[in-house]
C-alpha cells in the first residue's frame, strides 16, 4: 500500500516539470513586457533596465527558466510582477473562495445526483425516471455560466434572496456552487442510474431476492455499494476539473478566486503567479486522483488486492 502511494507520488514529479516547461514557454511568447507594464507611463530607461534586472527579465529565456526552477525547488516561487507580493500570498489569498465553491458544489452534485439516480433506476420507466432523464439531458448541454446568469436573475434580481455579486458572507457561494454543480450533476445522475440498472440485473441480486431479503436492503446493502464505485471515480474527476474550471463562473459572480487571479495574471504577463497557480492546481488534482483510487480500493476488495499485490 505504502509502496503504491510512493510510486504514485513520484509519478507527479515529471508531470509538474512538464507543465512548468510548457507554461514558461507559452508565457514567454505572450506579447508585452511585464517590466514596462509595471513601471507605468513615466519612467527613465535606466529605471526600466534596473527593474528588468531586478525581475531577472534581462537574462536569456533558458537561464530564466533554470533560475525559476532552482528557486522553486528551494520553496521560493518568486514575487508577482503585478503586485510585487510573494506569489504564495497571492495564490493563498484567492484559493479559499475557489475551494469553497468546489466543495459546496461537489456535495450538492453527489447528494442530489446519487439520490435521483437511484430513484430513477429503481423506478425505471416511471414518470420520475422519464422527467429526470429529460432534465439531465438538457442540463448536460447548458453552459454553467448561463445557468449562473439565470440563477442571478431569479434569486438576486427578481426575488432579492441572495447577493448579486461578490462574497460578503457564505450565502455568496450558494449560487456559483449550484451553477457549477448542475452540468456535472447531470452526468452523475446518468452514471448512477445506468450502473444501478446494471447491478440490479446481476445474479447475486436475484439470489438475494430469492432468499427473501427485503427490497430496501437489497437496494442499499447489495446494489448501491457496487453501483457507487464508478460514481466515486467520477466525483473525484469532477473535483479536479472544478478546481481549474470555475474561471468563467467566478467572472459571472465577481468572485475573487483562482479564476479571476489567473485571468488578470495572464493578461499582465505575470508569469510567476500563472506558473505557481497552475502547478498548484495540477499537484492538487494528482493528489485528488490518488485519493480517489485509494477510496475506491477501500470500498472494493478486488481493487485492494491489486494495489497490495
Amino acid at each position: 500500500m505504502v509502496k503504491y502511494i510512493v510510486k504514485r507520488l513520484i509519478l507527479i514529479i515529471p508531470i509538474i516539470f512538464g507543465i512548468s516547461i510548457i507554461l514558461f514557454t507559452i508565457m514567454n511568447l505572450t506579447p508585452g513586457d511585464p517590466a514596462q507594464m509595471l513601471i507605468g507611463d513615466t519612467y527613465t530607461e535606466e529605471a526600466l533596465d534596473q527593474l528588468r534586472a531586478e525581475l531577472g527579465l534581462d537574462k536569456p529565456f533558458f537561464q530564466q527558466y533554470i533560475d525559476y526552477i532552482w528557486n522553486a525547488l528551494h520553496g521560493d516561487f518568486g514575487i508577482s510582477y503585478r503586485t510585487r507580493n510573494p506569489v504564495f500570498d497571492e495564490v493563498f489569498s484567492r484559493f479559499p473562495h475557489t475551494v469553497a465553491i468546489t466543495f459546496l458544489s461537489i456535495i450538492i452534485q453527489v447528494v442530489v445526483g446519487v439520490i435521483v439516480g437511484i430513484v430513477a433506476a429503481v423506478k425505471q420507466y416511471s414518470l420520475l425516471d422519464t422527467v429526470s432523464q429529460a432534465i439531465t439531458m438538457v442540463l448536460a448541454s447548458v453552459p454553467d455560466f448561463w445557468i449562473g446568469l439565470m440563477l442571478l436573475l431569479l434569486f438576486s434580481v427578481k426575488l432579492g434572496l441572495l447577493p448579486l455579486s461578490g462574497i460578503e458572507n457564505w450565502t455568496g457561494y450558494i449560487l456559483p456552487a449550484v451553477a457549477v454543480a448542475l452540468p456535472y450533476m447531470a452526468n452523475l445522475i446518468r452514471l448512477t442510474r445506468s450502473t444501478m440498472l446494471d447491478v440490479m440485473r446481476m445474479d447475486y441480486i436475484d439470489t438475494a431476492k430469492a432468499k427473501g431479503v427485503p427490497k430496501k436492503k437489497i437496494i442499499f446493502k447489495h446494489a448501491l455499494k457496487n453501483a457507487l464505485l464508478p460514481v466515486v471515480t467520477l466525483a473525484g474527476v469532477n473535483i479536479s476539473w472544478m478546481l481549474g474550471g470555475t474561471i468563467v463562473i467566478e467572472q459571472v459572480f465577481n468572485i475573487p478566486g483562482i479564476g479571476s487571479l489567473m485571468i488578470t495574471s495572464i493578461r499582465n504577463k505575470d508569469t510567476p503567479v500563472v506558473m505557481a497557480t497552475v502547478m498548484f492546481i495540477a499537484v492538487l488534482s494528482c493528489l485528488i486522483n490518488l485519493a480517489t483510487d485509494l477510496i475506491y480500493a477501500a470500498i472494493d476488495p478486488r481493487v485492494k488486492a491489486q494495489i497490495k499485490g
Binding site: 510548457i22 506579447p31 453552459p143 474550471g245
Partner: protein, 300 residues
C-alpha cells in the same frame, strides 16, 4: 423494421437484404431513436442557417451597425427578438452567431480527432518506448486544466478563430488519444490484423486501412461529444473576453455584453443562452444516438 427485414430474407429478395451496407444498417438503427432524429434535424437547421446567413443578412448593415435611436426595443414585427444596447437586431446577430459556434465546433472536432487518431493509433500499434513517450507527454497536457490552457494560448498567440480552435483542441487531444489508443490495443492482436501482417502489408496501411476503420464507431461518437463540449467552452471563453471579441455576435460575447444591462433588460440574456443550449443539446443527442446505432450489441 425487423419484421420487414425477415420478410425480405425469407421470401422476395434475400440478396437485396445482404447488400445493405454498414452505413445503411447504422441509419436504420439510428432513425428508430426519435430523440436522436430530433437532434439531427435541429443540428441540420442550425448548420443550414449558419451557411446561408450571408445570403440574407448584411454583416455590416444588420449585424454590427449601431442605431442608438432604436436601442432596447422589445419584441416587435420588425425586431422579433428586440434590439440590444446599440439598437442592433438581436435575431440577426443570433443567426449570424451560429457561424462561429458551428465553425469552431467542427474545427475542434476535426483537429482533435485527426491528431488523436494518428497519435493514438500509432502509440497503440507500435507500443514500447514510442508509446511511453507519447503518453507521458500527453499526461502533462492532461494535468493542465482545459480552460486555463486555452486562456494562456489565446493570450500568447492572440484570439483569432484558428488560434481558438487550436487552443481548445489541445485540451481535447489527450483524452481522444487515450480512447483511440485503447481501442487500437484491443484490435491489434485480432486475427485479421495478424493476417494482414502475414501478407507483409505496410504498417501505415494496416493502421489506416484495417485498424482505424474498425475503431471508427468510438471515434465518431467521441468526436460529436467533443464538438458539443467545445461549443460551450468557446462561448465561455468569449464570455470572459478571451475568445471571439465584440462586436462579432458570438453567443458568449453577446451574453457578456448583455450582462451589463441585466438589471433593466434581462431579455437580452435569454436568446443567446437558449441558442447555445439548443446547439449543444442537438449535438449531444446525435452523439448518444450514434453510440447506440454503432453498437454491434444493439444489432437486430
Amino acid at each position: 423494421m425487423s419484421e420487414k427485414n425477415t420478410v425480405n430474407v425469407s421470401a422476395a429478395a434475400p440478396r437485396k437484404f445482404k447488400r445493405k451496407s454498414q452505413l445503411e444498417m447504422v441509419w436504420i438503427r439510428y432513425r428508430k431513436n426519435k430523440l436522436a432524429l430530433f437532434g439531427l434535424v435541429v443540428f441540420l437547421i442550425i448548420v443550414i442557417v449558419s451557411i446561408s446567413t450571408p445570403l440574407f443578412i448584411d454583416y455590416k448593415e444588420q449585424v454590427i451597425k449601431q442605431n442608438i435611436m432604436d436601442k432596447f426595443q422589445t419584441a416587435s414585427a420588425a425586431h422579433p427578438f428586440g434590439t440590444d444596447q446599440f439598437g442592433r437586431d438581436v435575431l440577426c446577430r443570433l443567426l449570424w452567431g451560429a457561424r462561429y459556434s458551428i465553425l469552431c465546433g467542427l474545427g475542434v472536432m476535426a483537429l482533435s480527432l485527426s491528431v488523436g487518431a494518428v497519435l493514438g493509433a500509432s502509440a497503440g500499434y507500435f507500443g514500447g518506448a514510442y508509446d511511453q513517450i507519447i503518453m507521458r507527454i500527453l499526461d502533462v497536457f492532461f494535468a493542465i486544466p482545459m480552460t486555463l490552457m486555452a486562456i494562456s494560448i489565446v493570450a500568447a498567440f492572440g484570439n483569432s478563430i484558428p488560434n481558438l480552435i487550436v487552443a481548445i483542441s489541445l485540451g481535447q487531444i489527450p483524452k481522444m488519444t487515450r480512447i483511440i489508443r485503447s481501442s487500437v490495443i484491443t484490435l491489434k492482436d485480432q486475427d485479421f490484423i495478424e493476417a494482414a501482417r502475414a501478407c507483409d502489408t505496410k504498417k501505415s496501411r494496416i493502421i489506416f486501412k484495417h485498424i482505424l476503420p474498425n475503431a471508427m464507431g468510438t471515434l465518431i461518437v467521441e468526436g460529436t461529444l467533443t464538438m458539443g463540449k467545445s461549443i460551450i467552452l468557446i462561448a465561455g471563453l468569449s464570455f470572459i473576453g478571451m475568445g471571439i471579441q465584440p462586436p462579432a455576435p458570438e453567443w458568449g460575447a453577446m451574453l457578456s455584453e448583455a450582462k451589463n444591462y441585466m438589471l433593466n433588460y434581462p431579455y437580452l440574456m435569454y436568446a443567446p443562452g437558449i441558442a447555445i443550449v439548443l446547439t449543444a443539446l442537438s449535438i449531444t443527442l446525435i452523439g448518444d444516438g450514434l453510440r447506440d446505432a454503432l453498437d454491434p450489441k444493439m444489432k437486430n
